[in-house]
């Protein structure tokens, strides 16, 4: 990925998402929360899930981290808000698989697709996967 391509992607996609993240606040109430931390670089987020009658009703997040992890979690929150636990796991698995170097996976969501392009941005795959890994680990081990 050249510097120009990178700048282009940041300008048009990452920085806007980073500046106006989706549901970026600590909500007044939440049914449960998940930590997403990468202590190698100091990133620290909390994801807040609210549920009602076994259905997720909202996903918020708050914390500190780089533009990539923040943008990626923002996009994730938007995408999982209406899903069942099972589908969240399926989506996050698919997303994480898609971040492997030689995999190419199609997503209907354009923004998710955009994140995959950034896997060629060396050393940043962990930033992009941070929130997704946390969600995947959580739902693998817990029911809603």
């Amino acid at each position: 990925m050249t510097k120009q391509e990178l700048q282009q992607l940041f300008k048009s996609e990452i920085l806007p998402e980073n500046d106006n993240p989706y549901h970026f606040q600590e909500p007044q109430k939440a049914s449960f929360s998940i930590e997403a931390n990468n202590t190698m670089c100091g990133d620290k987020y909390t994801l807040y899930f609210d549920i009602n009658e076994g259905q997720i009703t909202s996903v918020y997040f708050y914390g500190i981290g780089c533009a990539l992890s923040k943008a990626s979690i923002s996009i994730m929150c938007k995408n999982i808000e209406d899903l069942s636990a099972k589908n969240i796991m399926a989506l996050s698995n698919k997303f994480i698989d898609g971040m492997k170097q030689n995999h190419s996976i199609e997503h209907s969501d354009k923004k998710i697709q955009m994140l995959h392009q950034l896997k060629h941005f060396d050393g940043r795959v962990d930033c992009i996967k941070l929130g997704w890994e946390a969600v995947k680990n959580h739902f693998e081990n817990t029911e809603l």
Binding site: T2, L6, Q7, C41, G42, C66, A67, D122
Partner: protein, 380 residues
């Protein structure tokens, strides 16, 4: 510009290792044939050379380890642990690398003793008044670094050691960041344990040093158990050799040790003070230039510093800074630098860090500044 993490290997180091690996390779200590004997001699000669590098003529104060981290863990387990009693304490500082923090924290938890932490001021200087008041006759060790790997602070090490020594407290100095350009050694510093890593001084990975003062060499018990440290093994009982040989369990990293000797030669040839003044010059220039980048915050302003500068750019996470600078061919480090206690104390989560070595020059700094300015413009 990430030399605080690891320096580049000197060509002469790689050459010395390859030469040994291809033509002189043999296990040490246990063979009579020529190759083995020569390898043993080279190995022990290196011990003498390291001692000389540390201004000592007692090679038996010098043990080979895998690096600073291993050296410090060895002191924790082979020296300190057997001495600890309820009510004791260990003193360290908020500015330490995890390698010089977690081993003490773990000992403190295991033996239920107190870990006392010397704080720093907002400039990144240690609070020596606090240091004085934290040390008492129940203090079993003071563990402190010579130079902070995050802020570049050069601690007033003589004064610090003086404080501990006036109460006869053993002192460990983590010299990982100072071994290249300062006179170090348990004798010149008047400390008891001194640790550093080959890979931060143009030498190989996987080899480091633990020097122990004559006063405490006899207190050192083996760390790993195996061949090479044995006087005599019976089914019921084993007798061990003395320090430093009681730390040589298993086949040592002979080639690494030989590489380390070549690195010391490389340093002596350039001269420690030449290194120091070159890096000083770059540091002053970099501080001056960096302060002119808009939106930059340089972290800490210690009284004396060298070669390492942490900073943050407004609204840009250090990780992103490092990534974009990488695209301009600049290697700098972003993150917690294995000093989470220090960063927490400063209310930070991460910093970007540049660190210089002898092969950096003014041109590098100019490139850095241009890139940072461009990045600030792009991001805003």
């Amino acid at each position: 510009m990430d030399n605080a993490a690891t320096t580049q290997r000197a060509k002469s180091v790689v050459a010395a290792q390859s030469q040994f690996d291809l033509y002189e390779n043999a296990n040490i200590h246990r063979g009579i044939y020529d190759l083995s004997n020569q390898a043993t001699q080279k190995f022990e000669n290196t011990r003498t050379k390291i001692a000389q590098f540390l201004s000592s003529n007692n090679a038996n104060t010098v043990a080979f380890t895998q690096g600073t981290t291993a050296s410090i863990n060895i002191v924790a387990q082979s020296f300190l642990a057997p001495k600890l009693k309820f009510g004791d304490n260990i003193v360290t500082t908020i500015m330490e690398h995890h390698a010089n923090f977690i081993p003490w924290q773990m000992l403190a938890q295991k033996y239920q003793i107190e870990l006392r932490i010397v704080p720093m001021d907002k400039n990144g200087d240690l609070d020596l008044i606090q240091l004085k008041s934290l040390i008492d006759r129940k203090t079993q060790l003071l563990a402190v670094s010579h130079i902070s790997n995050t802020l570049g602070t050069i601690h007033p090490i003589d004064e610090i050691i003086g404080i501990a020594k006036s109460s006869e407290i053993p002192v460990l100095v983590d010299a990982a960041q100072s071994a290249c350009h300062f006179e170090i050694g348990v004798d010149p510093l008047n400390c008891d344990f001194l640790t550093f890593s080959g890979h931060k001084m143009f030498g190989p990975f996987g080899v480091g040093i633990l020097q122990v003062s004559e006063k405490y060499v006899e207190d050192m018990i083996p760390y790993n158990f195996g061949g090479g440290i044995i006087e005599n093994v019976q089914i019921k009982k084993t007798n061990f050799r003395n320090f430093p040989h009681n730390l040589d369990a298993g086949t040592p990293n002979v080639s690494g040790v030989i590489g380390l000797a070549a690195a010391l030669k490389f340093i002596s040839e350039i001269g420690k003070s030449n290194m120091e003044s070159h890096i000083n010059k770059l540091t002053l220039l970099a501080l001056d230039q960096l302060s002119q980048v808009s939106g930059i915050e340089i972290i800490g302003n210690p009284k004396k510093r060298i070669g390492i500068i942490s900073f943050n750019l407004k609204n840009i996470h250090p990780h992103d800074v490092a990534s974009f600078l990488n695209k301009d061919g600049i290697a700098l480090r972003a993150g917690t630098h294995c000093t989470q206690p220090l960063l927490s104390a400063m209310g930070l989560h991460a910093t970007a860090r540049v660190s210089f070595s002898i092969y950096n020059n003014e041109e590098d700094i100019n490139t850095l500044i241009v890139s940072l300015k461009e990045l600030m413009k792009f991001w805003s």
